[in-house]
Amino acid sequence: MSEVFEIAVIGSGPGGMSAAARAAELKVSHILLEASPQLSNTIFRYQKGKHVMAEPEALPLRAPVPFEAGTREAILDAWDQGMTRLGVNIRYGAEVSAIKKRDDGVFEISIGRSEKVLAKNVVLGIGLQGNIRKMGVPGEDAPFVQYQLDDPDEYEAETIIVVGAGDAAIENAVALAKQNQVIIVNRRDEFARAKEGNLRAISKAIEDGVIECYYGSAPERVDKLSVGRKPGRLILNTPKGRAQVLCDRIIARLGANPPRSFVEACGVVFPNADPASVPAISEKYESNVPGLYIVGALGGYPLIKQAMNQGYEVVEYILGNIVEPADEPLLRAKFETMPGFRSVSSALELVQKSVPLLATITPLQLREFMIDSAIRTPKAGEPIFKRNDYTNSFYCIVSGHVEIVVDEASDKRIRLEAGEFFGEMSLISGRRRSATVHAGQGCVLIETPRRSMQKLINSVDGVKKLVDRTFIERAIRGRFGDEATPAQIREVVASASLQKFKAGEVLFREGDEGDALHLVRVGSLTISRNLGGREVVLSYVPAGNYVGEMAIIGGGKRSATAKAAIATETIRVDRDAFRKLLEQNPLLRARLAQEVKQRTAENITMQAAASGGDIISFLVGQGVGEATDVLLIDESLCVRCDNCEKACAETHGGTSRLDREAGPTFADVHVPTSCRHCEHPHCMKDCPPDAIRRAPNGEVYIADNCIGCGNCERNCPYGVIHMAAKPKQKPGLLQWLLFGAGPGPGESPYDPDSNQKKAVKCDMCKDVKGGPACVRACPTGAAIRISPEQLPEYAYARNP
């Protein structure tokens, strides 16, 4: 351990590998430490033959090893060859457990329990896959214990214990049970974390006795056996005492520890507790620990090409060289449309100087922010977005001004000047735009997509605070500002706070004292009353509306219970502050009293049709509460002709994006497995190329730059995304009708052997003339699409 390397690279993913390769190319003393027995474990673990895509297309590659779109095997081969050719000093099976900076500035890198490596600089490229969680009991590394499973069909006639209760554990257990005797060990009493489909599968398998389950049980010890037919046994702590299970194999699927705690232990600071936040790094990828650099997915760059470029650049920076970042040409192309453009750096400076929101972010964050964003220079009077559009991008005004139409009827407008921002409402609530915005004279805007903006909000506290405060202020002004003066509004804003509720949590209960008013900012609520000992849902309140005013105006107790339908956030306005506002503004009071009256009347109608409430409850339970548009089928009209599926397949490359039959039914209302176009689509999170977008009409769709990683398929709780390849061309309809040429309507299965799979899902037929083909093709009127705002009306219509 005497040698002190110039650079130690940890993790041989695209980022780390490229860094080590560049160091080798420049003959700098280096070492590459990789935990797994092979190069680039993340890529190695892609499905066999996967077609790896080289997004973003416009970004040039700058690395000593090649990378272009192709199969996983070809890419790994090329990298392995590159490593050998350049003579990279690589050590496999070297899992780094700690990094400590000594007083003399040299890093001490611990491998495993005892070994240490010394280096002057460390490049951390460990990606986001994290360390696989082990069982944490004696014997956890026995030869028959494994923590991954690639191909369940490999095993047969074995006794296998699966430990874990998540989706991976369940999928493995169910697949293995076909050829093996499977026992699943669940620490809890139920499979609560699993997706609906997996939950059904495992419950059924257990019920049928196909899989044996130990509930509420935790592994205590793994023993290797030398006598007997089985190589090992697992000692379990069960509610009924200790149990031992003999087995051939133990597969523990306990997920992975996100690398964050390891990184924090190295001294790197994260901006806040949000799991989505990434450590702040300088323009040269240096963290707050001098000499410790972060590249790749860990630093917030989730694509292979980006990671490889950073690996190259970071070595140059360490050596003190100045290189133009590889994304410079992209930025230049962006800024060129900006009037008075001189250079990228001056343009970046201008942006940061003129928009206070961006003043505190690091240069690297700003670059990244700008790469994802677009510069817009709309002509005066041009609409930037329209009221009721479903877009959710965010805008900063660099120069000029915009006008927001606050009242359509009177065309009353307010002005936002350079330095301000707008679009935060839809970004946060996931709902339609609340007003139309027109460009003013000489307007230069930065338009930022939802994901990048959210990433920034999650990574920089100053940005989050400013956006939240502005949101509260504008929301309250929008609701009550017509009658009240700005000073009065400011007072109310000062008393307001944000409050979060989990799905199912109660905001307030019928009979409680009315202590506050809630403006729903994210999520939605159900309003219910206790009628004869039964909870009856009366109504559904989407984001953008308020609840709790009745008790405050009436001055009494809550007349109903408000409950979060999904994870929800509200702006809470204190009773006293709100009363004061009402006292000062008799007009406002009169308007609200009128609204209260109307709501009471609606509630009474719903109360009369109490079973309508059951339909709302059922639909909210099916996730309709977070939907913007959902397909419902009236099973008393559906003749099961599957025309809806055929239509979908026919208009969408041969794969239907809806499964009519699957999904639950209540009172003849059937919720088929099809996309709900969620307000805050779960599928969007962790999409490396940010390929999932929302169109102005609300459609959540997947763009062509999808890399087929399958994250969205896993993240969608409703199981509506599939991985599919493009189908072959097929002959026209009349040719089929008359001559039987080619596959018939809706029957063109995609090519199952293709490895060029991409994610496909319902796009609400945004490119099909006439709108949703499934609904239009239904001959009986059974299939309709509704938005959750229509829920009460719908429920009522079914139960007049």
């Binding site: 009209l637 003339k769 309709i784």
Partner: protein, 297 residues
């Protein structure tokens, strides 16, 4: 919100159909032809043309139904119009012919048309009546799930039967091999499933297994047989047997439900096998009818 084929667009096409019918009827009554009213008068030609065009348009529905990407309205609007305007054809056709029928090509076209229309009436009835029955019968699962469960039950029953007795194993195996759900259209419509028979033969096998010891076992009920066997064999044996019978009963219940499901689906589809070929036949007859009229003219 959901509109059926009948109340689509607030009965828009019912009104269209009524106006068309009343219009034709009024014209027919007001019209005073020379001689008997028939297809040869100007009104006859008019009504005939309307009818023929209607038929062509009704046929076009088969194409429209499979055109998923065009923007020409919704399929349910088309079907609603199809149903109402199709029904007016009865009146229009008879008015067109002046209620004259005979043994000729013209009447063949009329007869075919009426068959098509009446099969359509059944279709509408089926579409409105059977879906709810189907939902209720399924009780929140899918047919595939039920079939899957049957398959699993079969496997388990076989494994269990193997433990009990060779004879019983054979019976279970045979009954599994014989279980046929669905099949030809008639079998589908009859909702035949062989599971009840399987249960019966299992009972018989059980009773004959016991019969060697006790002669009148054949007439005993199942529970008594199990009790009887419990005395004969070990505890585990009788427990297995009880479980086997539970399994086979459950399978039988499932199979009945699947068969009913298939039956309902078949009822919703079978009439189309008349409706469509007959409508093509009608197209032929109609062409012949029109050609012959022009030929003789």
């Amino acid at each position: 919100m959901h509109e059926s084929i009948l109340d689509y667009g607030r009965y828009r096409y019912l009104w269209v159909a009524l106006i068309l019918s009343i219009g034709s009827l009024v014209a027919y009554l007001w019209h005073d032809p020379i001689g008997v009213p028939n297809g040869g008068t100007w009104l006859g030609y008019t009504l005939g043309t309307i009818g023929a065009l209607l038929i062509l348009w009704l046929l076009w529905f088969g194409v429209r139904k499979r055109r998923y990407s065009g923007a020409s309205g919704s399929a349910r609007g088309w079907l609603s119009a199809h149903v109402y305007l199709g029904s007016t054809l009865i009146l229009i056709a008879f008015l067109h012919s002046g209620f004259q029928v005979g043994w000729n090509i013209h009447t063949l076209a009329l007869a075919l048309m009426l068959l098509v229309i009446f099969s359509g009436f059944f279709g509408v009835y089926a579409y409105l009546r059977y879906p709810s029955l189907m939902t209720r019968n399924r009780a929140n699962t899918t047919r595939d799930a039920m079939l899957e469960e049957i398959r699993e039950l079969d496997q388990q029953a076989l494994a269990l039967a193997d433990k009990i007795d060779r004879n019983i194993h054979d019976v279970v195996l045979r009954s599994i091999q014989q279980t046929r759900l669905g099949g030809g259209i008639l079998a589908q419509l009859r909702a035949r499933d062989d599971s009840a028979q399987a249960l019966a033969s299992l009972r018989k096998a059980v009773s004959t297994a016991g019969a060697s010891a006790k002669a009148d076992a054949g007439s005993q009920t199942m529970v008594m047989m199990v009790d009887f066997l419990a005395n004969q064999a070990s505890d585990a044996q009788s427990d297995n047997l009880r479980r086997l019978i539970d399994m086979v009963s459950r399978k039988s219940a499932l199979a009945t439900r699947v068969a009913r499901d298939i039956q309902l689906q078949a009822l919703m589809e079978v009439w189309l096998y008349l409706h469509v070929p007959l409508s093509l036949g009608l197209l032929g007859a109609l062409t012949a009818h029109v050609l012959s009229v022009f030929f003789y003219w």
